[in-house]
């Protein structure tokens, strides 16, 4: 239904999709401009940064497509339309996820895919079956982690109705951070992105394995393969928080 409604305003839809592609593309252009002045950023080459960028962008693109609408829960709480979702015989989380399903978000995904392809082509890596397999695994695990963050952010809005922007710090902010090598950031920031919000498992940890780089985060060897497990735990935690949020929901008005 929302797909059809999106396609109804064809010019706007096209512009939003192209905008999505161009938006993330220009983001990367900024990184390319950086590399016109330098050979390496934090010890990483341009294809390596492109790999980090493409992988996190693909994960976030997928998550945004599936769970991006969780960011609008606050608006629904404010105008009282959550009630409508409560009386329908479908899980509220599924309804929220499908609400205003924004097809134009595929723009980011297309761009991420192209960039990831370019990066994989130019990477100087001795490909093993494990490394090849790790690429799709990290993108899907990363998408689940980002989706969990989006859902927790949505649940948080049941309590703090107009704080949807806090979520941006973790989603867009986190994604911006993951576009760059972990060596760029201070130790505290990396720790926060590993243990507080497990964003490091979206791409940093598995990507270091793919790139055959020594561990710069100070984690044990098995952490390289922990992304799927971390993703599952994140989704489970998000489910619990979402339910708690829904229980705490108090309708507006009389």
């Amino acid at each position: 239904m929302w797909v059809r409604s999106a396609l109804a305003y064809r010019a706007s839809f096209l512009m939003m999709t192209l905008g999505g592609i161009a938006m993330t593309a220009l983001d990367f252009v900024a990184i390319v401009i950086m590399f016109t002045h330098i050979e390496e950023l934090g010890g990483f080459s341009l294809p390596e940064v492109a790999f980090l960028y493409g992988a996190s962008s693909a994960s976030f693109g997928l998550a945004d497509l599936l769970a991006g609408s969780f960011g609008r829960v606050g608006g629904r709480v404010r105008d009282g339309t959550v009630d409508v979702l409560l009386v329908r015989p479908v899980p509220v989380s599924a309804q929220v996820a499908a609400d205003r399903f924004a097809l134009h978000r595929v723009g980011r995904l297309i761009q991420a895919g192209l960039l990831l392809g370019w990066a994989l082509w130019h990477l100087d890596v001795a490909w093993t079956p494990g490394r090849v397999l790790m690429v799709p695994v990290m993108v899907v695990s990363g998408a689940l982690i980002f989706a969990a963050v989006l859902a927790v952010g949505g649940a948080f809005q049941f309590w703090a109705r107009d704080a949807s922007e806090v979520q941006n710090a973790f989603t867009y902010g986190g994604q911006t951070m993951l576009q760059y090598p972990p060596t760029v950031f201070g130790r505290e920031l990396v720790r926060g992105a590993t243990f507080v919000v497990p964003l490091a498992f979206v791409n940093w940890v598995p990507a270091l394995y793919v790139l055959g780089r020594g561990d710069v985060l100070g984690l044990p060897w098995w952490a390289d393969f922990a992304s799927p497990a971390v993703a599952l735990v994140s989704v489970a935690v998000a489910g619990l928080v979402w339910r708690a949020g829904l229980r705490g929901y108090v309708s507006t008005g009389s």
Binding site: S12, M23, A30, D162, V166, V184
Partner: protein, 270 residues
Amino acid sequence: MHRGGVYFTVTAGSFRRYATYRVATAAGVFTNTVFGFVLAHTYLALWSERPRLGGYDQAEALTFVWTGQALLAAVALMGGGALEDLQARIRSGDVAVDLYRPVDLQLWWLAADLGRAAFQLVGRGVVPVAVGALAFELALPSSPVTWLLFLVSTWLAVVVGFGLRYLLALATFWVMEGTGLNTLSTLLNTFFSGMLLPLTVFPGAFGEAVRTLPWAAMLQVPADVLLEQHRGAAAVVSALAFQAGWAVVVLALGRALQAVAIRKVVVQGG
């Protein structure tokens, strides 16, 4: 009431309105601060490889980052602001009522946007810079004249930003669904204002071209004024004149487009 008085009341009302969104403001401050840290670290990595890149030393580059975060909401670089209401009113047709009123449509919304910007500058600007100054070594100026010039430059940046967004809002008269345009505008705003990377770092002729576009007036110029990059009074005056020139151009364009758009208004129903 006196004419000027009306607009001042609109500005004050808009300031108060945004001041009531306390949780949203706190959330915005948090987000700006997180982004500031992320960007600051990438700049540190970049400037440690290439000291004096783009004419800034490391402290100046970091100050550029935090200035950007402070101005982000005030100049409405990521969209939003008072003009989203105008867009909604155009879509719903309520704008027909606005055209009835004995005030100028463009000045009315400019007044509202200035009130919003004034609040955002204080509410969302001061804390990120303070946090940035605690965490990093910044190059904030000590001269009160520089700060005063920075405020003037910021005010001009807000007006240019308003002018561009007003054009965008009026475009809703033709496309009806403005979300796509807004996405595109955010993209142009962030890339060409210097939000992602200072425009002085952009290479060659492309860089020179980018520095003459109106978006440069929205962040690059105020940041350079704060960083005292313009040596001498003449240089500062020409930087402010660059902003004022673009402000006049975009406001005049908005006025012309408004005249066309008003003729297009169709009031639906009997």
